[in-house]
C-alpha cells in the first residue's frame, strides 16, 4: 500500500474512525517497523496538540460595537419608514387629538368672533406642543431601546422652543445615555437651543464628563462653532488629562487656539 494512503489511514485510526479488519491492519502496520511507529507517534502527537487547542476570548468591545452597528441598522431602517412608524405609535391619538382640536378651533373661530378663534388656535397649538413634548420625554426615558430614545431626541427638533423639562431631559441623555449615537444626537439637539445660557453651560460642563473620543470631539467642535470662550478652561483641562487620546487633545488644542 502507498505510504500516503497509509498515513491517511493512520489519522483515521487516531481519530477512532476505524473498526474491524481495517483497524487491526493499521495496528499491525504500526508495530511492523520502528519507522512506522515513529510516523504514527508524530501524527498522534500533532492531533493531540490540535485537540488541546483552546478558544480565545474576544474583547468586550466586539459586542458593544456590534450593538452600536445594529442600532444604526435598525435606525436607518426605521428612518425609511419613519412616517409610517410614527403614525402607528400610540402617540397617534395624542397628535390626532391635537389636530382635531386645532380643526375644531378653526371651525369654531369661523362661527364665533375673532378673539375666540385666536384663543382656540392657541389652545390647539399648545396641545400639540404638549403632545410632542410628552412623546419626547417618554421616548427619552425608554431604557430598553436606544432607537426609541434616538427617536425622542429627533422629535425634539420639532419643538421650536424647548422648556426646562425638555432641556433637562436632553442634558441627562447627553451625559448619561449608554449609547454613543444617542448622546451625539442629544448634543446636536441641544446645540439648536444654544442661545439659552443654561444650555451653553450644560454643554460646556459635559466636556469633562464625556469619555468617548467621538463625543468629545463633537463637543469641542461645537464650542468653536458657538465661539464659546467660556469653555477654554475646560478645553485646557482636556489637554492635560492623560486619559484622553491624542486626537482628542489635538482637537482641544486647535479649539483653544481658535477661541483665544
Amino acid at each position: 500500500m502507498e505510504d500516503k494512503k497509509m498515513e491517511e489511514l493512520m489519522i483515521d485510526y487516531i481519530d477512532g474512525r476505524l473498526t474491524g479488519e481495517l483497524k487491526s491492519f493499521v495496528e499491525k502496520h504500526i508495530t511492523k517497523t520502528e519507522e512506522n511507529r515513529r510516523e504514527y507517534e508524530s501524527l498522534k502527537k500533532t492531533v493531540a496538540l490540535i485537540n488541546a487547542d483552546r478558544e480565545h476570548e474576544p474583547d468586550s468591545s466586539l459586542k458593544l460595537d456590534f450593538l452600536n452597528n445594529l442600532e444604526e441598522a435598525i435606525e436607518s431602517e426605521s428612518g425609511k419608514k419613519r412616517r409610517v412608524v410614527k403614525l402607528r405609535s400610540e402617540n397617534y391619538w395624542q397628535i390626532a387629538a391635537a389636530v382635531a382640536l386645532l380643526a375644531v378651533g378653526i371651525l369654531g373661530g369661523m362661527w364665533f368672533n375673532q378673539n375666540q378663534e385666536k384663543q382656540a388656535q392657541m389652545l390647539a397649538m399648545q396641545e400639540e406642543v404638549e403632545a410632542t413634548k410628552r412623546m419626547v420625554m417618554l421616548a427619552l426615558d425608554n431604557q430598553n431601546s436606544a432607537s426609541e430614545r434616538m427617536m425622542g431626541v429627533n422629535a425634539s427638533y420639532e419643538l421650536s422652543k424647548a422648556d426646562t423639562d425638555i432641556i433637562n431631559a436632553l442634558v441627562k441623555t447627553m451625559n448619561e445615555d449608554d449609547n454613543v449615537n444617542v448622546r451625539l444626537a442629544a448634543i446636536n439637539a441641544l446645540s439648536k437651543f444654544s442661545d439659552q445660557p443654561h444650555v451653553r453651560s450644560a454643554l460646556i460642563a459635559s466636556l469633562e464628563k464625556q469619555r468617548d473620543a467621538i463625543v468629545q470631539i463633537t463637543l469641542i467642535n461645537l464650542m468653536v462653532e458657538m465661539k464659546e470662550r467660556g469653555a477654554i478652561n475646560e478645553l485646557k483641562e482636556m489637554i492635560e488629562d492623560s486619559t484622553n487620546i491624542e486626537s482628542v487633545k489635538d482637537e482641544a488644542h486647535m479649539a483653544v487656539f481658535k477661541l483665544s
Binding site: E8, L43, L49, P58, L62, K63, L70, A73
Partner: protein, 179 residues
C-alpha cells in the same frame, strides 16, 4: 429557537434577532479569523464585518439552508476579500521571532506555553487553505459534511485536505522542535 428560524425573522425585518445569532456565533467566528490571520484587531474587524454583511444581505438567506454554512461562507468571502486586498500575511520566510511577536499581541499567555506557541507558529506556516480546513474541522469541530457545504466541495475532498494539512502541520512542528 433554531439559528435558521432566527435568521428568517431577521430576513423578514426583525433585525433585533440578529443579536441572538451574534451571541451564538461571534466567539467561533472571532476564533476562525484569529487563527487564520493571527491578528487580534483584524479578527475583531472581520467578525464585525461578517455580522454587518449578515444584516445587509439578509434577504439572500434562503429558507431551508443551514445557517451555519451560510454564515461561514460569508466569513470565508470576507477573509478572501481581505487577503486579496492586503497580501501581508506572514509566509514561510518570516522569522520565528516575528511570528512570536504577533502571537504575543493576540494573547500574551500563548507564548508562555511552549507547545501552544509551537503549534500556532506551525499553523501559521501552512497555506491559508490548509489553515482554514484545519480550523473548521479540528479547532471548531465541524463535521466533514458541514465543512464540505461551506467549502462547496465533496466530503472525500475535505477529508483529503484535512489529512494533508495535518501532515504538513506535523512536518512544520517537527522542524521547529529541532531548532
Amino acid at each position: 429557537m433554531t439559528d435558521e428560524a432566527l435568521m428568517l425573522e431577521v430576513k423578514n425585518g426583525d433585525l433585533k434577532k440578529a443579536s441572538i445569532l451574534f451571541d451564538r456565533y461571534h466567539k467561533r467566528l472571532y476564533n476562525f479569523f484569529l487563527k487564520i490571520s493571527f491578528d487580534k484587531e483584524l479578527g475583531h474587524d472581520l467578525t464585525q464585518n461578517t455580522f454587518l454583511r449578515l444584516i445587509k444581505y439578509r434577504k439572500t438567506y434562503k429558507e431551508g439552508s443551514k445557517f451555519q454554512s451560510w454564515v461561514y461562507q460569508m466569513a470565508r468571502n470576507i477573509y478572501a476579500d481581505h487577503y486579496r486586498k492586503n497580501k501581508v500575511l506572514i509566509s514561510d520566510y518570516d522569522e520565528v521571532d516575528e511570528i512570536k511577536n504577533k502571537l504575543e499581541l493576540v494573547d500574551e499567555t500563548i507564548v508562555q506555553d511552549e507547545r501552544e506557541k509551537l503549534l500556532y507558529i506551525s499553523l501559521f506556516r501552512l497555506t491559508p487553505e490548509q489553515r482554514e480546513v484545519l480550523i473548521l474541522t479540528r479547532f471548531q469541530q465541524m463535521k466533514y459534511e458541514e465543512v464540505a457545504q461551506v467549502l462547496e466541495t465533496s466530503v472525500a475532498n475535505v477529508k483529503v485536505k484535512v489529512h494533508r494539512a495535518i501532515k504538513a502541520l506535523r512536518d512544520k512542528y517537527l522542524e521547529l522542535e529541532k531548532i
